[in-house]
Symmetry: C2
């Protein structure tokens, strides 16, 4: 079966500061017609930052769509054309005040494949050195640390529910277990 | 520090079939003003369905925002007011042709906390019985199965990158390891 859908027409229905919303007419796999509503997002990067005592750095941040404070790993949007590996170094510096001597890629995730084209790149940062935080003017967040194993348990049990945080903790755990056991 | 943001004004800027987009003016934690662009989504449910041989059921589906075929666990949107536990039984039946004798909740995730209010409820289904598939008219997907351990490895290594699939496989693994080891 050919699964591909073909774009017949594309209309920009909202051109926001962060989001662009498109309403596309498409030809389905069976030749029928349908409409796809798509959020265009600049993409982002997020990091599992571990200190020498096995703690991971998390943040509490008010997330407006849910009207509540959410626990997450440090993350940020990409500037136009920006390399994710560059973006995440800036975010770690700004939000946690840390630089890392050792970086590993944890790949990428697609947060919600049905309607957004957001790509989120994940990283593991180790050998941290701490300096000053420099938050953006409209950013308000509380950083804190927690043993990595405890964060992994909270992600498994549903105390941590942010998708990028779950994915990154899970992949970081698998990577570090592979390093240990060859 | 008070992290809360207050809604000053809310405007519906796009009223689609699937998505509603709002542009809200908000008062930030420090009293300053900003704009939040929010996607309102009906929410969804997704399931790790395991057969008696330790296989998990996956699907290949063309995902229009990325213009490519993505590997995912079975999932679907909630109807207005629908219970996620009800929705996921329907989706498992429609997409895989299966009913399950044993259901466990794997909690929920927030796919992309910065701009969408989507809530995605995760489940583990076991003791499967197979009948006929009944796909929606505009759904085109290829179901297949894979050993659960292999799916978990692919999620860790970056061959599977759908966020809900990663989160659900990770939580299902932790739940089953707890069952085994008490």
């Amino acid at each position: 079966m050919e699964l591909k859908e073909k774009t017949l027409a594309s209309e920009l229905v909202f051109n926001g500061c962060l989001l662009k919303i498109y309403r596309d007419e498409v030809e389905l796999a069976d030749g029928g017609a349908s409409v796809r509503e798509v959020v265009h997002h600049p993409g982002g990067a997020a990091v599992v930052a571990l200190d020498g005592e096995g703690n991971v750095y998390l943040e509490r941040q008010f997330r407006y769509p849910y009207h509540k404070v959410v626990t997450e790993i440090p993350a940020g949007k990409l500037e136009p054309g920006e390399n994710p590996a560059h973006a995440i170094r800036r975010e770690l510096q700004e939000e946690i005040g840390a630089t890392a001597g050792r970086w590993d890629s944890l790949g990428h995730i697609m947060p919600s494949v049905g309607y957004t084209d957001e790509m989120l790149y994940l990283f593991l940062a180790r050998d941290l050195t701490f300096g000053e935080r420099h938050l953006d003017q409209d950013e308000f967040l509380e950083p804190f640390k927690m043993p990595f194993a405890e964060a992994l348990s909270q992600a498994a049990s549903g105390q941590i529910n942010d998708a990028k945080t779950l994915a990154a903790l899970f992949r970081a755990d698998r990577l570090m277990r592979e390093e240990k056991h060859g």
